[in-house]
Structure formats: C-alpha cells, structure tokens
Amino acid sequence: MNLVKLYKRYKFVFAELVKRDFKKKYKRSFLGVLWSMLAPLLTMLVMNFIFGNFFGRTQEYYTIYLFSGWLIYQYYNDATNGAMNSLMSNAYIFSKVKVPKYMFLFSRVASSSINFFLTLVVYFVFVIAYKLPITWKFITLLYPVACMFVFICGIGLILSALFVFFKDIQYLYSVFTLALMYATPIFYTVDILEPGQRWIFYLNPLYYYVTYFRSVVIDGVIPALWFHGAMLAVSVLLFAIGCWMYKKYNYKFLYYV
C-alpha cells in the first residue's frame, strides 16, 4: 500500500469535500464560525452553573475540569454521528461517480476536527483566564488528539457500514452516546465510585482522553506510559476493525435496491 501516492491522488477531492462540509455548516459567515465557538461556551456556562455547586467544592478548577470533559465528548459525539451518516448521505454521488467512498467519511471527520480545534481555542482562553500555568507539557496533548482521531475514524467506519444496512442504528447509537456521556466523568468526579469499582472507567475509551487532558492542563502531569499504550492500542484496534468492515461491506450495499 502506498499511502503517499494515495494522498497525492486524492488530496484535492479530500480538501474540496472538507470545504464543502465546512461552508455548509457555517453558511459562509463569520458569525457562523463564531457561533460554533459560542455554542460550547454557553453550554459550558450553564453546566458550570448547575454542577459547579455540587462538584465544584471538591474539585479544583472545576470549570476547566468540566470543559475538558465536555470538549472531548462533544468532539466524539459530533464526529462519529457525522461519520455514520457520511456514506448514506453521499450515496447519490458515489453510485454515479467513481471516487473512494471512504473519502466522504474521512472528510466528515476532518471537518468535525476543525470544529474541535475552534472549541480548543476557547478552551485555552479559559485556561489562561483561570491563570493555570501553560507549560511545554501542553505539547503532549497532541497525542490524545491524534489517538482520538484514529479512534473516531475506526468507530465511524464501523457505524457507517452498519448504517447503510440498518437505518435504526442511528437511534440505537444516540441512546448509546447518551449512556456514554453519563458513563464518562464529564461533570462529576471519579470519586463518585469506590476505588474498587473505578475499573469501570478504564473500559471507557473516552475516559483516557478526558483524563489525559485534565492531568496535563490542571495538574501539569503527563500520564504514565501504560496510559499512552492503552490509548494507542484501543485506537489501532478499533481502526483495524473499522477497515476490515469497510473492506467487507463497502461495495455490498450498492446491490441492495
């Protein structure tokens, strides 16, 4: 497999598809872009107001704590939902034009990622406003972001393959993401569970990304090596499963009329 060649061949169509998604989302207005930064900000403030009274007493920098969790969760939620729909909503194109179907999926995840980076800007404004020290360690945040990108692509490949056959996946998945939101320590702290029960968090991939962000930004500590290993392993595994499913099913649904 020659990745460089693939990249060269498809970078134009990839860029154009990302542009399309982005322009449509923001309706080519500056306010549109601003809105995508404002929306998480407002949600944040509401959540901070509500939950700050419960958990803010025990957790230092609760606003940042909350924002870290929300940021990651929103990225995951938006990107995987978009990826799930990406094949179906573009089927009218690739049933008429020869273009690799995964382009639509990756470009959709990429435009979610751009959105995520915009939110990240707001996030860092908060970090500065709360007078948390910005250190060189912040560079390591690229690691969880990269792992997450691979992870999301993997989940997206699996979901989009299922979605073309089973339309009700989207309802099941929205229930799943809701459950995932509550299963991830976003607004509550991990001590909601007894130390002996906390292993349940370790089964949740989002827990690792969230914890990584908090550890580096709030505590100034880079997580242990095994933490990095676990993140990488889960991402690569899911991506491999996704690729396998894509390969197996990507042509099949063309034949279902």
Partner: protein, 242 residues
C-alpha cells in the same frame, strides 16, 4: 481496448433494507428473512477494439445502466471480469456531486475533484469551462438558483474537459437548448476522435445509428445479440414495435 467476460450482477431485493437491526435479528432467528435476488446482468460478454464506438440499446430495466456502472468501476461484477486498457472517464449522471448551497465556481472545483481532476487542471481549465457553459455572469450564484438547463450545461462543460482512452456515456449527448446541443455534440465528437474507445447508452436510435460502429442489445439483463449497427438496430426496432 475493453474486454467484458461473462459479467453478471446480482441485486438483492426484499424487505431486508427497511426493517432495521431489531427486526432483522428477530426474522433471522425465526428463519423468516426473505431475500429475493435479481440478476440485472447475466453472462454478458463483448469486446471493443481501440477507437471503436459501441452502442448499448435495450428497453427500460434491461441492465444498461448497470453495465455502465460496472465499466466505470463503480460497481464490481458479482461474477465475471472486465479488462480495460487505459484511463476511463465515465459520464453517467452528470448532476451527481453538485451541491446546491455552493456557488457555481465552487461547484466546478468540487465536481472536478470528484471526477479525479487535479487542482491545477481545474484552475487552468476553469475559464474554458465557464465559457463553454455560457454561465460567466452566474459564477458566484448558488447552484440551486440555476435552472435545470443551466445545470446540465455546467455539468457537461466540466465533464467534457478530458481526453480519456475510454469514454463511457449515458444519455449525456442531449442536454441544454438546441444551440448548446449542437456545441456539445461537436465537443463529444472531438473527444471520441483520436483513438478514444467509446461506449454509449442511448434511447435515441438515430443517434446510435449515426455514431456507433457496433451495437449490443440487452433485454432483462441478457444479451439478445451483438453485431453491426444496422442489423442490431433494425432487430431492436422490430422488437419494440411488437
């Protein structure tokens, strides 16, 4: 040169696609899952030499569009194989890939990218494309505001910029008003000249008679015959009159 060997394509019909995961699992457990098969193509074989123009005729649902999709590489055949030497450009549905919320200019880039053009190529050809489509004043207008005639003119203008080795066409020769049609037909002839191998599906028998060197007749996914244009067209016409 194109070699089509015993190509068959199977579609799957039935309630499979609408029922969702839950019902699928229940029906599967009960063994009630109904899957109907439909062979859109069965053992289709033909051969086109370099520079020749093959026409495909047949009534609706005969598998013409499916064979074009297979030739374009969009759909791999269920059985059989296809061998094509050289670059393939397929103009199937000209409208696919355009986005209503983008401007004409942005759509030229998007559609060009989907067709496999490079950015530089689109940049270089952009003026020619706009000029050919007669949409210069509409460059910054949203695509959805264009009339359907304008849309097909734009689509044809973008798609016809290439000089491929193999050209696969689905009823695209007849777009726009009379003047544009004449212009586009001239452009098509230009594309077909110079050794391009062409495969054309058309409902217009007169067009097929005029352009094609060889004709395949499909009916319900099966080949009724292959041969020189006059014989095949006459046979098909007789069949249609019945």
């Amino acid at each position: 040169m194109i070699n089509v060997n015993n190509v068959s394509v199977r579609y799957v019909l039935g309630d499979f696609k609408d029922i969702g995961l839950k019902e699928y699992l229940i029906k599967k457990a009960k063994g009630q899952l109904v899957k109907k098969e439909l062979w859109a193509l069965r053992d289709v074989s033909f051969h086109v030499n370099k520079g020749e123009m093959l026409g495909i005729v047949g009534s609706n649902g005969s598998g013409k569009s499916t064979i074009l999709k297979v030739l374009a590489g969009i759909m791999p055949p269920t059985k059989g194989s296809i061998k094509a030497n050289g670059s393939v450009a397929a103009l199937l549905e000209l409208g696919a890939g355009f986005d209503g919320d983008l401007t004409v200019k942005e759509n030229v880039y998007l559609r060009g990218a989907l067709l496999g053009y490079t950015r530089d190529f689109v940049k270089d050809e952009y003026e020619k494309i706009i000029e050919f489509s007669e949409l210069k004043e509409f460059e910054d207008v949203m695509y959805k505001k264009l009339s359907s005639g304008m849309r097909s003119k734009l689509a044809f203008s973008i798609a016809s910029r290439v000089n491929p080795d193999i050209l696969v066409l689905d009823e695209v020769l007849s777009v726009g008003d009379m003047a544009f049609r004449r212009k586009s037909e001239a452009r098509m002839r230009e594309m077909m000249s110079g050794g391009t191998t062409t495969i054309l599906v058309s409902h217009s028998l007169s067009q097929v008679r005029e352009l094609c060197t060889q004709v395949v007749w499909l009916e319900k996914g099966e080949m009724r015959g292959i041969g020189d244009t006059k014989t095949m067209c006459d046979m098909y016409e007789k069949y249609m009159k019945k």
